[in-house]
Amino acid sequence: MHRFIFKLFVFLLPIIVSFVALEIFLFKYPNTFNTKAFHLKENLDIETLFLGSSHSQNAINPVSIISKSANLAYGSQDYQLDSAIFFKHINKLKNLKHLFIEVDYHSLEDMRSKSYFRLAWYYRYYGIVMKKISLVEKLSLFASSPSFFKNHLLEYLNINRFKYKLNEAGFTTNSFPGAFKELSYDRNKIMNSAYARINKSHFKISLKNYSSNRTKICAVINMAQSKNIKVTLLKTPLFTSYKQFFDEKKLLRRNNFIDSLLLKNKNIRLLDLENDIRFKIEDFKNDNHLNPNGAEKMSSIINEYLLTKKK
């Protein structure tokens, strides 16, 4: 028995040591969640807050915005998460003056399930509980989302692999690689290969989600207005290869909802960059995401917009 226990311990020791080392590494290695959460914690006096999906995440660099800002948009973030982030922090953000809410083509009919793999990180970094978080997810960063942290680890270990760089606000400053660069920004190639590339969930039709998301946005707007925060509905720039698959009825539903919000609330504005011709093919990383150059352009448009609003 003693021999068994001793041998088992010796066998398991390298595994335990490796696991502890991995946890320490992951805890220290910067990712968009820990960087943005830390940035927000250190900058509770922000004046502008951006919410939305990866469209906004890639499009707005808070460092380039004239007012102190935070971009809490994340890949696949839906309105459940937008509103959860907003309500979690609203009472701490005493100086908040502008709230940007993304209203892209997919936004209103998109919704994550309870098994969505990033929910554990929203809990860990923002204290947002969207599902029952297991003890394992609480204790181990790796176990909370193995696939995500595996990528981080591989990125770190592989010297040949492209390494993303984050600035202090959690914006990826070098995310140029993408489908458009791979296709040498060739318009024909981009248009012809679009269907296989695009995110199919963006084209899902769901009236149920549409209805539920409308309620969530209205709740966020009501709260923002009660705190005298100006709300801007933001349509981010999208490339034609993505827009060619738009369903007319879905588009109309989105636009009608925006119109109804603008009609009812005088303090709400729309910043529509969806078809803005200032964005060229070279400003895009792929069909529906800007690259850092595009983000700089976008940030200066937002700066102009904020200045106009100030006047």
Binding site: M1, F4, S76, F117, S147, K150, S201
Partner: protein, 487 residues
């Protein structure tokens, strides 16, 4: 409590340590500890159903004694019938009540009569089909005088609720497992190491094979109308490995865990996907259930003896009941029917016991003929598993007709529901190739890595184990419940 959970990773070492702290001569106290641990293990899921296990245990313990002591044949038969009524009654109520009710109503509606009745909101107690069959084997064996009654209530209770195999088997016969509770169990280093190896292999099958395959299979089966023929084939193929990895993985962990406590359970899977015909497949798949049906149903019905009608009848009865055992749905009955249909030609041509040995033992590859046999049997099982996995018979037929469409020869692509991106499961397919390779090498053993690297230096052998642990760890996080829990 799931075997692939952190809860179990904490539970097992605690029970193991407490168990072996009790001196072997006090094995009766070890039995009590096993009983308590088993009730905690089961109660972790839903403590309310512990009463059901306890009741079933009490009934069979008491009736078992009466059956053994009674000399009157009629009374012995009555006690046995009572045991059958109680055990099968529970099973019928919890598992099949709504099925019969709904079908009864539908049948009447067909003839123009309208009956309104609400189905009951019944929760299926985990593992009820397994422990019910286990206790039934006890009373039937007592009736047949193949067994003496249990020597004590705690030993019998521990046998019924033995946590490693309580919820998903192997379905142990009282003749094999019960006597092990009457003996001193000395700690055996080699047995414990072998147990750990089997647990490790079970986790590999569950976490790496079943859970990865489940991701693809779930997407395809849940949205089958959206997929091309080739993607449907890929989904069915993934489910074929999911169910094997899932169920045989559970059995491996159960058998390995039992070994840590000094118990020997029966082999439940013997590399079924290397079978050369469907009869061999059924000798290698879920052995504890197949042999249960063989001994307690098929042989009493006359088995393969008698005229053609009896042979055909018995084959269909055994497969249909086996299908129905898996769940209250016509899809399982269709699955059983299809297997009977596959099996029948072999039985009628007396070729059902042609392949009894280990396939091409000692050789690196199977012969071409054997390979064709394996491939044909595998395709048969893939088609049958479609019926097992779908929600309804309509779904099964639309799934199969979807396969035989113009898109059968297109490149299969799966759409990830959360991200919406198209994926092709390269890594999972690679894992399956690795898995099949290791299983082929170890096909003569009880489990694939039992003797793998036996003659190598410890460092190389450990390297294999570390690699498996690393892969499990790397794939961890897609935790899915074991499929057979629902049966």
């Amino acid at each position: 409590m799931l075997f692939n959970s952190i809860d179990f990773a904490i539970f097992l070492p605690i029970v193991f340590a407490l168990y072996w702290l009790i001196p072997s001569r006090l094995y009766k106290y070890q039995n009590i500890l096993i009983l308590l641990a088993s009730y905690v293990f089961y109660g972790w899921w839903d403590y309310r159903f512990l009463a059901l296990i306890l009741f079933s245990t009490l009934v069979d313990f008491s009736l078992g004694k009466l059956i053994y002591q009674e000399t009157s044949v009629l009374k012995r038969k009555l006690y046995l019938i009572l045991s059958l009524i109680v055990n099968i009654g529970f099973l019928m109520y919890f598992k099949y009540y709504n099925f019969f009710l709904e079908n009864f109503i539908e049948a009447f509606s067909f003839f123009g009569n309208r009956i309104t009745s609400n189905s009951l909101n019944i929760i299926l107690p985990v593992g009820i089909s397994f422990y019910t069959f286990q206790t039934l084997s006890y009373t039937i064996d007592l009736y047949r005088k193949n067994l003496s009654p249990a020597k004590g209530f705690f030993a019998f209770s521990a046998y019924v609720s033995f946590f490693p195999q309580l919820v998903a088997g192997p379905i142990e016969r009282a003749t094999n497992l019960l006597p092990q509770f009457y003996e001193q169990r000395e700690f055996d280093y080699l047995k414990a190491v072998s147990g750990l190896k089997q647990i490790l292999w079970g986790l590999f099958k569950k976490i790496l094979i079943a859970d990865n395959c489940a991701e693809i299979a779930n997407i395809v089966f849940n949205n089958s109308e959206e997929y091309s023929g080739s993607s449907l084939v890929l989904g069915a193929f993934m489910f074929t490995f999911q169910i094997y990895g899932d169920f045989s993985g559970y059995s491996d962990i159960a058998i390995g865990t039992s070994r840590l406590f000094g118990f020997n359970l029966m082999q439940n899977f013997a590399f079924p996907y290397f079978s050369r015909d469907i009869a061999e497949f059924w000798r290698r798949w879920h052995i504890s259930l197949s042999t249960w049906f063989r001994d307690y149903l098929y042989i009493p019905l006359g088995g393969s003896k008698g005229n053609l009608f009896k042979k055909v009848r018995n084959t269909f009865i055994i497969f249909l009941i086996s299908g129905f055992w898996h769940g209250a749905n016509w899809t399982f009955i269709a699955w059983g029917f299809l297997n009977a249909f596959y099996f029948l030609p072999l039985l009628l041509s007396n070729k059902n016991r042609k392949n009894l040995n280990v396939i091409n033992e000692g050789k690196l590859f199977p012969s071409f003929k054997q390979f064709l046999g394996i491939l044909f049997t595998f395709i048969q099982t893939v088609i049958a598993w479609i019926f097992f996995r779908v929600e309804s018979l309509t779904h099964a037929f639309s799934f199969i007709s979807g396969i035989f469409s113009k898109t059968l020869f297109s490149i299969p692509l799966i759409i990830e529901p959360d991200t919406g991106y198209s994926i092709f499961p390269k890594k999972t397919l690679l894992l399956i190739v690795l898995f099949v390779g290791i299983e082929w090498i170890g096909r003569k053993d009880q489990f694939a890595i039992e003797t793998l690297g036996e003659n190598w230096k410890a460092i190389y052998r450990n390297l294999i184990y570390y690699s498996i642990i690393f892969l499990i760890f790397w794939s961890f996080g897609k935790e899915q419940a074991f499929i057979y829990f629902q049966f």
